[in-house]
Structures are given as structure tokens and as C-alpha cells.
Symmetry: C2
Subunit: 407 residues, 2 copies
């Protein structure tokens, strides 16, 4: 295939990519986890001043790479480099902002690898078949409507994934879909009372009930080969000598199967009701002195059904990874893991409802993301960017072929 | 006994006491729990503006009742009405300020019942053997040094207690001592990670560990006939899709026996370490997929050994309650419960280290205090104040007898 030959001499610049990462990471530094200057996490909250400064840098850099930049009402930024043909761009993207306690790769690498792809195209004066763009999503904001989005827009999202690649000693993960998830806020209402003056039988301890629910959700999600996690928990008031009267917590449940997820949720709803009443769950032998029980309610906050990515996008990534493996002298099956299911939602779940989408995973230390200490070596970041470059170029060629053979 | 005859015609005024309670409760209103204007809780935080306004009212009222008022550096207020003899006052007292989510009786009744006692003395031109005072403690502040405190100062603290009186259908509790307690702050450190991307075996979930510790502390305190409670729990950062990396929570353990309390604490320290490592506790059958474990540390914040109150104070309260029972035509044993051990610390634990101290409990609904909905009927409040009046007068007579028979 002629296109492949043309791609052969295009290589991302590892040092340049890392320079972008560590340069922009100076804005919104988070927790320090190591002794090197680059060993800090990130706390670059969405639309904060630090985020704005990095967004400004992104826009300026993209413009210097011959991009037209536009924005939407949600603050999403779209930088587009023209191609041989008009038409919707093939976008690369993620988000430059982070969790309050994020790291310097999750999200950020997806955008900066996109910029590195643009730099390679500029340096080599490559004219792509269709426009190529980089998008910086405003995190947590819903996807906006751009150009009356059509299926032709390919979203190739460089991202990272849990510990699977590391455990299997592979470097690139080809993601075929994303787990379903459902987020709930649960409120447990008991009654405040003095910790010393009120013996167990007279208590309605909202936090004890919540603690039992959290422990139980882990047991049950384990049985269902699913995930359950609580990331937020808030006590109304709170003092050491007051039994909490109201506790609110999040529960995030995930499964690769929509039906299994709903079964898990139904089971948890049933069991949490039993726990709230301070009654024994089936099979439970002891839980201490029984109290008076609490009331509780669930509120669905967000949900997403299981996602399946676009077959053409997946094929382009696979071809690109095979080529990268060959260049590195590694057998393709030792280099990449096919058919991965992402646990995390990512922006690509939303984009996949509008246009062809896929994701690339790279190797990261201990599979940790959303943590100050998350880490991918410069080699792995560059490998991901290289596969991304090849994927996007291949996808453009595919579009060109389809356009020329069209009606 | 002549003194008893003299006390017979002295009666507290139920309406006047309740008027003071509901009048001052307008400052620092808390959560509404019923439809009546007086059915709200209190949120009159220590040294807040609302607290200051009530303190001003207290000082003004005490001065109008012939009291000298003085303050110490902690903001504790001492109002003293002179007696026949000079000498340290016999104090009645508690605190007018409340928890963030307190009610209108706990603490407040102890001070306002003291004022009601002073009103009765003033109205009837009673000259007591020694000075009588009312103290308003600044809550949570350590006891100050007043007048080189000596054993002669009797602290008679009107307070309320859990559900025991209600369950046994008695109206006055004679408190002989207070439970030991120890407060710790526990920090669990795991590692933040993405809830979707990180499967259970790779997690160090600090909140899951904390939840298991809280559940377990209840089970174990139940086995030890002790109490364990968590009233404060804080997550570092916190978002729905991030597994918490650090959780801090309080644990408040109490027992009527110092040695039993230490045994409970040792056992919890041992078991929490096992839970932190995500290992099975003895006898535990399943807890879901094992993770990587967390580290943890304990910090002792506050502690108090078991307290035994003064025998003379207890005798005066008992005599006064017997007299009140007789006036009400109720058998003494149906009216009062002797030998109660208070679960809550109260200021009287601190005063008892300096001078003779005792406490009176009154009947309250469901034994609930430290809660917006705590409630004692006006009759029960007045009964407590009446027993308090008789106790304080008797204690003064006892001091006079001792003084005259002294060396």
C-alpha cells in the first residue's frame, strides 16, 4: 500500500513531546511524589486561571502549526489543519485540565500527542487527505455539536489504561469498547445523637450504615466481576462526639455488560435497604448490636451504556501498531494487546455516539491514572504518539479511498 | 432536719424556666424538626455572635439577681450570689453554646436551671450558708483555675442522659460516675486511581479500608459492651471516579472500665492493621477481591479515664430527689434511678478533678441529645431544676455543719 510507504519516514520527536508535557505541567502543579522536578502530580482544574494559561499556550501553538482554531460555548477548543480535500477533520484529542489530584499524563498526553502529530506534519510538509485536528475538551462538559458532526469524523483518542498492559508486558492497547457505568448519589438518613450518652440499640447511625454499604458493594461487585467504588463521602455536620445523622456518598458501578451492570445495581439496592434497616444480610453471621435503622435514597447522577468503537478506526490503529512493532523489531502480538475494554468512560464514549471513534492505550506504571504519581516513560509516550500518527494518516487515506469510490 | 423544712416552700417556676429556654433559643436557631415555633434545634457555636448575645443576656440577668459576675481568659463566665458565710461558691453550670447541630436542652438547661435556682432564692430572700454560683463554660475549652479551687466547691451539673430513664420509666437519674473515653484520629493512606481503569487487585482504596474499620469497630465494641463511634470522616480530594487515596476519620471509644477500654483499643489497633493490609480477619469468610492494601496511623486526640463523683454531692442529690418524689406522691424508687454511669464526658469530668462534683439526669424523649430534635417536656425540665435547687441548698447546709464542727 503506497500510503504506508509514505508514512515510513514520519516519526514523532520524543524529546519535543516530553518538553511540551513538562513545560505545560508547570501550570497547576499538584502533589510532589518524587525528587525530580517533573515528579509532581497536577491540580489544573477545569477553567481555572492555570487552565486558561495552558489553553492560551495550546491555541498559540496550534496557530503556529497552520491551524485554524475555534471554540464552542462550553470552552471546547478545536484546532484544525487543512488537508487536500475539504471535509470534517479527523480529530485527535482529550483534555488538558485535570482532577483536583491528577497526574501529568491522563488527558494531557492525548492533547499533546495530537500537537506532536501536527508538528511532524508541518515539519515534513505533509498534505493529508482530509483536515486533521486536535481537540481540547473542557472536562466534565457534554460534547458540543460541531459542524453538524457526521460519521466521517474519526476520533482517535490517545489514552492510558490500567495495569493490564504492564502485567502482560505489552506496549500498545487497541481498545474495542468501554465499560458501561452508572453513578449514583446515595443519602442515608439516621439521627444525630451523643456518642457517649446513646448506646447502640438506640442509635440510627448513618455513617455506620454507609460504611457497611461501601464494604458490601465491594464484596458484591467482586462476585459479579464488576467494579464498585465510592469516591465522595460527605457527613452533614460532623463532630467526634456526635453520631452522624446524615451521610451522602457516591457509588460508581461498572461492567462490560449492560445487563450485568443492571443486575448488580438491583442487588445492591435490595441489600442496601437491608443494611439501612440494620438487619442481617443473607449469610451474614454477626454485625454487632442492632440499632434502630436508617432511611435511604438513591439518585442516578450519570450513566453510560457499554460502548463499541468503530471498526475502521480500530483497523487503522491495528495497522499502525503492526507497522510500529515491525520498525521496533518486535512481533506484533508481543507489542500490542487487541480487544481491550476500557474501564474508564473518557470523552470518546460521548464522541462515539456521534462519529467513528477509537482509543489507543499505552503502558504506564502500575496502571495508575487519576493520581499524582501516574507515570509513563518518555519512550512509551512517544510510542503511543507514533501509533497515533500512523493511525490518523491511515484513517485519512481510508476516507480518501471511500470518497473517490463513492457515488 | 431543720434545713429540709426551710426548703419545703421553695419551688422553681416551670413557666419562667421554659420562657428563659425558648427566649434564648432565638439566638442561633438550628434545624426545624416540628411545626411549633419552639421545635427547632440549635446551632449556637462557641464564641459566635449569637453566642455572645446570649452570654450578654446571661450576665445581665445574673447581675439583676444580685450576682457578681467575673470571667476568665477562656471566656468562662462565673456569676456568684453571696451567702451567709464567705467562701468558695457552690456552682451550678454547663454551657450555653451548642454543637453545630445541637438541640435546645443539652448544656443550655444546665445553665438556665441554675439561673432559675437563683431567681427562687432572690424571690424568697433566701440567705444561703455559702455563696451559690452559676457557671457558663465555653464549650470545648479546658477548665480554668478559679480562686485556687478547693474541694469545698460543689459542682452540681444538671444534665440529660440517654434512653435509660425513659426505658425504666423514671424521672431523675443520680449519676455516680462517667465512662472513660479515648478519641483518636485515624489516617488511612492508599493510592488514588481511576475507578474505571483500575481493577480491584491493583487498588489501595483508603475509603474501603476505612469503611471496613468503622463496621468492624462496631462489631468489636459490641462484644466488649463498650461504645465505638465515628463522627468525622474526611476524604482528601474526592471525585466520583477517583478511588480515594487518603481518608481521615475519628474514632471515639468509651467504656465504664478503664482496663476494658484499653483492651478494646489494643484489639482495634491490631485488627485495623489487618484490615489496612486487606487481609482477612480471623473468622471472616469473604470480603471480595483483595487489593494492594494501605498504610495507616493512629493519633490520640483526647482521653479521659473513668470518673467517680463525690459521695456528699451524690447524697445531697439523693435526699433532694427523695423529697421531690414525696411531694409528687411517688415512691422514691419509681422516681429516681441511682448509680447511673454517664456515657458522655460533660464538663463535670474536668471539674471533678478539682472539686466535689455530681450530675443530675432528667428524662428526655428517646434519650436523644446532641440532635436538633432533642426534647424534654417542661415538666421534666422543672423537675430537674427542683431537684437541683434542693441539692444545692442541702450541700450548703452540709458545708455549714462541717465548717462549724471543724477545727
Amino acid at each position: 500500500m503506497m500510503a504506508n510507504a509514505a508514512f515510513r519516514n514520519l516519526n514523532v520527536n520524543e524529546g519535543r513531546l516530553m518538553k511540551d508535557i513538562h513545560h505545560t505541567a508547570q501550570r497547576g502543579k499538584g502533589a510532589v511524589w518524587g525528587s525530580a522536578a517533573t515528579e509532581t502530580g497536577m491540580a489544573r482544574l477545569s477553567l481555572s486561571l492555570e487552565d486558561k494559561l495552558v489553553r492560551d499556550w495550546f491555541v498559540e501553538t496550534a496557530r503556529s502549526l497552520s491551524c485554524n482554531v475555534h471554540f464552542d460555548a462550553m470552552g471546547n477548543i478545536f484546532a484544525v489543519r487543512s488537508g487536500r480535500n475539504d471535509g470534517p477533520a479527523t480529530f485527535i484529542g482529550s483534555h488538558l485540565d485535570t482532577q483536583p489530584s491528577g497526574g501529568r499524563y491522563d488527558g494531557i498526553l492525548g492533547v499533546l500527542a495530537g500537537l506532536e502529530v501536527l508538528r511532524v506534519l508541518e515539519d515534513n510538509k505533509v498534505e493529508t487527505a482530509f483536515p486533521i485536528g486536535v481537540v481540547n475538551w473542557t472536562k466534565g462538559r457534554p460534547i458540543s455539536n460541531i459542524n453538524g458532526v457526521i460519521w466521517r469524523v474519526g476520533w482517535l483518542n490517545s489514552s492510558r489504561q490500567g495495569p493490564i498492559l504492564e502485567a502482560e508486558n505489552k506496549r500498545i492497547g487497541i481498545v474495542e469498547g468501554v465499560q458501561a457505568y452508572r453513578w449514583h448519589t446515595i443519602t442515608v438518613r439516621g439521627r444525630e445523637c451523643h456518642t457517649g450518652a446513646t448506646t447502640f440499640p438506640y442509635r440510627s447511625d448513618a455513617l455506620l450504615a454507609a460504611a457497611r454499604m461501601i464494604s458490601h458493594s465491594h464484596v458484591f461487585a467482586s462476585e459479579f466481576s464488576s467494579l464498585a467504588s465510592t469516591g465522595v463521602l460527605t457527613l452533614k455536620h460532623g463532630s467526634t462526639n456526635t453520631v452522624p445523622g446524615e451521610v451522602t456518598f457516591s457509588i460508581d458501578i461498572r461492567s462490560s455488560s449492560d445487563s450485568q451492570l443492571m443486575q448488580l445495581e438491583e442487588k445492591l439496592k435490595q441489600d442496601f435497604e437491608t443494611i439501612a434497616k440494620d438487619e442481617l444480610l443473607p449469610g451474614m453471621t454477626g454485625k454487632g448490636v442492632k440499632g434502630r435503622g436508617c432511611s435511604m435514597e438513591w439518585q442516578l447522577v450519570s450513566s453510560s451504556t457499554a460502548t463499541t468503537f468503530d471498526k475502521n478506526c480500530i483497523r487503522c490503529i491495528t495497522d499502525s501498531a503492526e507497522s510500529a512493532a515491525a520498525e521496533a523489531g518486535i512481533a506484533a502480538e508481543d507489542f500490542m494487546k487487541r480487544g481491550m475494554i476500557s474501564g474508564a468512560g473518557h470523552d470518546s464514549v460521548y464522541t462515539s455516539k456521534r462519529c467513528p471513534t477509537a482509543m489507543i492505550f499505552i503502558l504506564c506504571k502500575d496502571g495508575i491514572s487519576h493520581s499524582p504519581g501516574e507515570y509513563s516513560s518518555s519512550q512509551e509516550c512517544a510510542t503511543g504518539a507514533q501509533v497515533l500518527l500512523g493511525s490518523v494518516l491511515r484513517f485519512g487515506e481510508l476516507r480518501a479511498v471511500e470518497a473517490s469510490s463513492g457515488p
